[in-house]
Symmetry: D2
Subunit: 143 residues, 4 copies
């Protein structure tokens, strides 16, 4: 975590986009990205959005700020294939006292095909799994 | 597929339970089953429910009857850990002309802990990805 | 770990066989089990061989006895496919002061096809990753 | 495949380096990249080395040129962790009539730590799994 000895900066950047290629091992015998794989992509999107705001999720977790998935919802629109370049947009949709909701849009820029849309709900828990209030610095300043 | 030369039997069994152990590689650095892994468990549940009805999903797929995931929704209730024995109940919740909905309940029998609840929507597509009517034999006889 | 307050039993059982089905998500676009997946099967083989001897690897690890892979060697003989039932034989090939070597044979009983042969070398490390002597109870009594 | 209607270019570039970050889902409960994951990294290395030479492995495979793993050998030197940036160097070590051997070195540039060294042997098979001579264009011009 940056700025350890002073007031933490807020996460004011609420949308981010990453690009990546589909790996061989992520594709199933129908030649489509296996549907379980998308959750890993969304996780990468959240990690990079946090990094855009100056935080490493690894450090947060090492300090006991665990953000766990409480709910996942994915709508699969079209299959993505091995070696496709995909673009994932991750957006903080809502933060309240105990929950952070993200929305995702996964597209294949080459043909502007929408691959999937998704939503996740995270909760902040301590090392014992007890739900904790969402840390203030994770919210936008005027959020 | 069984009974290739006569009228296919209907899938009258609509609920099934499987047991399995959490593998080491399925667990993350929080010592919990990674949330992307559950989709693979649910897939096993559907495969075995189909087998209970006398069909191999492998054969269906080889014959061009592809059942693809259109929607997935998971609610994570409690973490499961490495080497836990889990029990998954898979239920056909609804079938209409183009969609099959399953509901899932994943529990850890040892302490009767509810690990997750989920829903999936499958659609039947041909090899070109075009949506097809759900084959009649996949529906219960009086369904 | 069993027998916590007395002398630990030795791991005298040095060979074990497990059966399992190939999962959909383990198969790639060539319709073959992805070659990275085999390492997870071998890990299951080691876990169950330890259980045959009365020990849970989870407990060992929680007590700080970490067995990490130092070397892996796999020879792929024939592809395994989705829904195949496979049989894995795991054997302790050699134990010395700092290393445990296992050998594996993965077959498909249906057609007696040899799928893969493999070897792993494990070392015992503490939580800081420092190599430790192999605990005595992991060796056969007259080994 | 490029240059479909003329003589294919040889793969004269025999070494390539890629960088990537360790994903959350790739790490196990010891907080280390799971040992099965490395094979997927090496596969990425081969894919990108082929791309450096102007070929897409996806296209080769779609045309029936299947390169399958016959042998994999990994020596694990140090654990890599979640969010580490890693650098993988992939080198064609040897090509003969029926085999392509690659060597790999995986390092963490931040602390110059050697994570793993590996070797793979690929063979060229047709869609029926029958071994075929290695296509000439995959060899360096004077190789």
């Amino acid at each position: 975590m940056k700025s350890q000895n002073k007031k933490l900066d807020h996460c004011n950047i609420t949308t981010g986009t990453i690009s990546f290629r589909v790996r061989y091992c992520e594709v199933d015998r129908m030649n489509a990205v296996h549907h379980s794989q998308y959750a890993a992509y969304f996780e990468m999107g959240r990690t990079e959005l946090l990094r855009d705001n100056g935080y490493d999720y690894r450090d947060l977790e090492d300090q006991g700020i665990l953000l766990v998935i409480a709910k996942l919802e994915i709508r699969y629109k079209a299959p993505a294939q091995y070696d496709d370049e995909l673009e994932l947009t991750t957006k903080v949709a809502k933060i309240d006292r105990v929950r952070i909701e993200h929305e995702y849009e996964l597209v294949r820029p080459k043909d502007r095909c929408l691959i999937a849309q998704a939503k996740t709900t995270l909760v902040h828990v301590d090392r014992n799994g007890k739900i904790q209030p969402v840390p203030n610095f994770l919210c936008p300043e005027n959020g």
